[in-house]
């Protein structure tokens, strides 16, 4: 049978299963199994399938995933999110839209210790949303800045998405982390500037200056910044131990996790928080890996059908300009973003998208940053944006439509940032070197 036909059948089957409400991992895995069984004799298929769960997961570098997850949970239990937000509040609270900017600051700081966008958004929603509503902020600005700020979680290292990307594309995780630093900070700054302009245009969004916070004294500002020292220490330990050669990326994750554990152990309710963090880490890790295995089986079957090569060849020979290629790819993520979470999006698309990128000669590290951006864009756009749902889930009285409306300016900013990253790849690449 024609490989393109088989491949297309597989993709269709996967989509139908997805829509039927079966879990994403099983939908991908089922399609993979059916594909492998259809294209190989039983004995061959038997070994390929039986060996796969072990062969695909048992890699030392994969330990970063649970370790960074655990660090994020510990950082939350230790109230690091609260303190980061308070520091932002002291510094920015008196400016128009200052609380929203403080939220972005808090998100960025928390992102330095948490590798998940959803976890960042849900944590900051609990911390910052009630505060903003109390001060008369509208749900659009308040919810939008949290949903968008959450996306920093997977851009500023550590980043779960970059871990997955690194694993399936075999691109250096350290280089990806380093490449993400400047775009991460730049995104946070652009968000803050965007909020400032937006609030200048529509002051009522930020409660028409009602209850505007007084500018905090400088001493107070630095005290608040000092109180969020743990975030800085954790970030310094993780990125620092990588730079100084004390540890590899994997080992740095263990050091960070260990340190965050000590921070929680020194606080009250330590045992309960640690136990809860371990339980959450365990089940979250299992769920992610079930997804990884399912996606891997799907990808194996798709490779056997040779569809990815055919599609890549086709697109390469179309000779499209850069913006057209990336426009197309981003469009795919926007559509997918309406259906699935970030990790699933990467796992589903990479088998087809990555060969195209390689064939077109783009730098896979730089592309990793673009992918994170595109994936996260999908998480804040309607009809389904997982970050928006997370904000809604954390603060149920927030109207969904308002939050989506509040995301729109951030979507525009994101598109601007993506264009900047495509036009000036150095933004991501200059820290990486050669």
């Amino acid at each position: 049978m024609d490989p393109v036909l088989i491949g297309t059948l597989l993709v269709s089957m996967m989509l139908i299963l997805l829509l039927s409400g079966i879990s994403i991992a099983i939908a991908l895995g089922t399609t993979g199994l059916v594909g492998i069984l259809a294209m190989r004799p039983w004995g061959a298929a038997e070994y390929l399938i039986a060996n796969f769960p072990y062969s695909f997961t048992a890699h030392f570098s994969f330990t970063v995933l649970p370790l960074f997850l655990f660090m994020g949970y510990m950082a939350f239990s230790a109230n690091l999110s609260q303190r980061a937000f308070e520091a932002g509040q002291r510094w920015l609270g008196h400016i128009p839209g200052g609380l929203a900017m403080a939220t972005i600051f808090g998100c960025a700081a928390f992102s330095a210790v948490c590798g998940s966008s959803v976890a960042t958004a849900s944590t900051m929603a609990r911390v910052a949303l009630p505060e903003m509503i109390k001060r008369g902020y509208q749900y659009s600005l308040a919810g939008g800045s949290i949903a968008a700020g959450g996306t920093l979680g997977v851009l500023i290292p550590p980043s779960g998405i970059l871990v997955i990307y690194s694993f399936i594309t075999e691109v250096s995780l350290v280089k990806l982390f380093v490449a993400a630093i400047v775009p991460g900070i730049m995104t946070a700054i652009i968000y803050m500037i965007g909020i400032y302009i937006w609030v200048k245009m529509k002051p009522e969004l930020a409660g028409m200056d009602r209850d505007r916070v007084q500018a905090a004294a400088w001493k107070e500002r630095f005290v608040a910044l000092g109180r969020s020292w743990e975030v800085m220490v954790l970030f310094a330990v993780v990125m620092g131990s990588i730079y100084l050669g004390i540890a590899t990326a994997t080992e740095a994750a263990a050091l960070g996790a260990f340190l965050s554990l000590i921070m929680v152990a020194a606080r009250k309710n330590a045992w309960r928080n640690i136990k809860e963090g371990l339980w959450e880490t365990g089940t979250a890790t299992s769920a992610i890996f079930l997804l990884i295995i399912g996606a891997g089986l799907f990808s194996l079957a798709l490779n056997m059908s040779q569809l990815p090569t055919v599609v890549a060849d086709y697109i390469v020979h179309m000779d499209l300009p850069t913006y057209a290629v990336f426009g197309l790819i981003i469009l795919i993520y926007l559509v997918l973003g309406a259906l699935v979470d970030g990790i699933s999006m990467i796992l589903i698309t990479m088998p087809i998208v990555f060969p195209i990128i390689l064939q077109l000669g783009y730098d896979p590290i730089w592309f990793g940053i673009i992918v994170v951006k595109a994936v996260e864009l999908g998480c804040i756009t309607p009809p389904v944006g997982i970050n928006v749902f997370v904000v809604k889930g954390s603060v149920p009285q927030a109207p969904l439509g308002e939050i989506f409306k509040g995301c729109l300016p951030f979507v525009l900013m994101e598109l601007l940032i993506i264009v900047l990253l495509i036009t000036f790849p150095e933004i991501a690449m200059f820290l990486v070197g050669n």
Partner: protein, 343 residues
């Protein structure tokens, strides 16, 4: 005309490696010579099977032809295939010829493959070992106390020299060495050290005391699948395999020369890697400290695991190596380096 035979080929590295290029030449040639009656479905870069899964997968028919390193990844299943111990030779061509010949002449080795439902098509010696480091390594005693990323017999070797072998995964070690996660990296063939960026990323490079060729890459076919092929098709595979070795040796020599010149270029740059080769006395010291230990260790372990007298296999192998060395024109990377730009 005969029925069309599709053979699924799997490799764990990408097309850019010389071994892969050799396989591509082999497969193209077989397809051509069989008038398209034999075709290969090709999987590179672990897209079908990972390194450790190639040979187990071959046994069970998950692939029909694989290019892999069973001695590294499936040691217990292929103990005798580990016979290429360090310090035996610096001649990759001799290893290539000797191991392939050993397969056809040594019953124990052939049984090792047949019992795993495999049949060797051809084997290829890697290029000689290198060691790249943060500190200069020019004498046997320089090994003392270093943390060295190493695997297999080379790990045993550096241990015998007083270093601590560390098993950080290769890419992490490459990133980590500049920053001191490990002091040195070895068990890396001459050509891949240059091509993979290890030489460029390091401060010092060395032959480590002439450890020589320490591993082979083996291309094998599933035995059941082989038996199902017509005698004509079998003959095409055998003939092309034989020619492949000649072709490959030439390709490999060109490549190593190119890598050596590239290393000259890299080393000539300001502040770049400094290359120090061991002199005869120090190389002999390294060998004296390590060779007997690893040889005895291997013979004991392989004899037990394979249930044969492994020392006999080793002796036969070394004799074949010497035979092939006599007619070989191979120059290893360090020799070429020394000739072209050595001081």
């Amino acid at each position: 005309s005969q029925a069309k035979e599709t053979l699924v080929y799997a490799n764990y590295v990408s097309e850019i490696y010389t071994t892969s290029q050799g396989d591509i030449w082999f497969m193209d040639e077989v397809e051509k010579r069989s008038n398209g009656e034999i075709v290969f479905e090709r999987y590179f870069s672990s897209s079908l099977l990972n390194g450790p899964d190639l040979y187990p997968g071959l046994s069970r028919g998950a692939a029909d032809v694989v290019a892999g390193v069973p001695s590294a990844y499936n040691r217990n299943d292929y103990p005798l295939s580990n016979v290429t111990l360090p310090f035996i030779t610096n001649d990759s061509d001799a290893v290539t010829g000797a191991f392939t010949e050993l397969f056809y002449t040594n019953d124990a080795l052939r049984k090792e493959y047949e019992s795993r439902n495999a049949r060797v098509l051809y084997a290829r010696g890697y290029s000689v070992n290198t060691i790249y480091s943060r500190l200069p390594i020019t004498k046997a005693e320089d090994y003392n106390g270093l943390k060295i990323r190493a695997v297999l017999s080379i790990a045993d070797t550096v241990k015998a020299l007083g270093a601590t072998p560390v098993s950080v995964p290769y890419p992490e070690a490459l990133e980590g060495m500049a920053r001191g996660v490990v002091d040195a990296m070895t068990a890396s063939p001459f050509d891949s050290s240059v091509k993979g960026g290890l030489a460029e990323a390091s401060k010092y490079g060395s032959d480590g005391g002439r450890m020589g060729v320490y591993a082979i890459n083996i291309v094998a076919i599933n035995l059941d699948r082989w038996n199902k092929l017509s005698p004509e098709h079998q003959k095409i595979l055998t003939d092309v395999a034989e020619e492949m070795i000649v072709h490959y040796n030439k390709m490999r020599q060109d490549e190593v020369r190119q890598n050596a010149l590239q290393l000259c270029e890299i080393a000539a740059k300001e502040g770049a890697v400094k290359i120090h080769l061991f002199d005869d006395a120090e190389a002999a010291k390294v060998r004296d400290l390590a060779y007997d230990k690893i040889k005895d260790g291997w013979i004991e372990w392989a004899s037990k695991t394979a249930n044969v007298d492994a020392s006999k296999v080793l002796d036969d192998y070394i004799a074949l190596i010497r035979k092939h060395e006599a007619t070989s024109t191979y120059k290893n990377g360090w020799e070429i380096y020394q000739e072209e730009c050595g001081s």
